[in-house]
Amino acid sequence: MKPLPAKLSGYTETKLIDPFEIFIGPVFETGAKGARRFALVVDERHVNMRAVLHGGMYMTFADLALGQAAWDACDHAAVVTLNMQSQFLRGAKLGEIVEVRPVITRRTRSIIFIRGDFQVDGETVFSCASLWKILGQD
């Protein structure tokens, strides 16, 4: 594995289970459960023909990071995405680090509302909100 960029010193690799997430990973994290911050280093696999982060990869990273936060919020019960709304503010370039600290907007018995502003060096480049269903809860 490549050495971590200096900006990610103190981060650890997020443990991934889903084959698709392992396929597009790794991603990195820092912080305690319920307050984790996630980072993606944009590499050659993730970009489109214009050499900026592919919209699909933005949304996959978002689904992964917000999913991890949803999982934290319900003590690792099984959760699935119901809906995701994404806004693409600007492209992230090869080598840039995209970071997010997901925020739980509301949690009901069966639904979790989460949003995240994804930033490169403090500038928001992608924003999304997703809804998660806690399986087995009415």
Binding site: I17, D18, P19
Partner: protein, 141 residues
């Protein structure tokens, strides 16, 4: 003729020539429906597209929707490049390993610089995802 996965027509065009499209693909363009009003795309769900529950990962379905709407925006505008501005996806049902997944894209409206689109992702008669998106057409300045 290049061999296509079972369930993908032999004459399907490979719509994933480089970058992330190719990495997660192959993704194919199928023939249009309704005299061109519906653009169709497809992929065969493989091991690396799955989540831990054994169904197709939401990120892969959203990627597929993004690619199919992007390509449709370029097809109808003639622009070399179009950028996703907004995409909203509803996850209606799960897809399984080996399924042939199809995206059916319609253009709701096109202005000089913006394309509004909707897509339904299906497996046979079953709906997996519905979505609506807004694309910006790159206009030479």
């Amino acid at each position: 003729m290049v061999n296509r996965p079972a369930g993908i027509p032999e004459d399907a065009e490979d719509a994933s020539i480089g970058g992330f499209n190719k990495y997660v693909g192959p993704l194919y363009r199928l023939s249009d429906l309704e005299e061109g009003a519906v653009k169709r795309f497809a992929f065969a769900a493989a091991e690396h597209h799955m989540n831990g529950a054994g169904t197709i990962h939401g990120g892969m379905l959203m990627t597929f929707m993004d690619v199919s709407m992007s390509r449709t925006s370029r097809l109808i505008s003639g622009a070399k490049s179009c950028s996703t501005v907004s995409l909203t996806c509803d996850f209606v049902g799960p897809g399984k390993l080996g399924d042939i997944i199809e995206s059916r894209v319609r253009v709701t409206r096109r202005t000089r610089t913006i394309v509004f689109l909707t897509s339904e992702i299906v497996c046979g008669s079953r709906t997996l995802m519905v979505g609506s998106g807004v694309w910006k057409i790159a206009v030479a300045e």
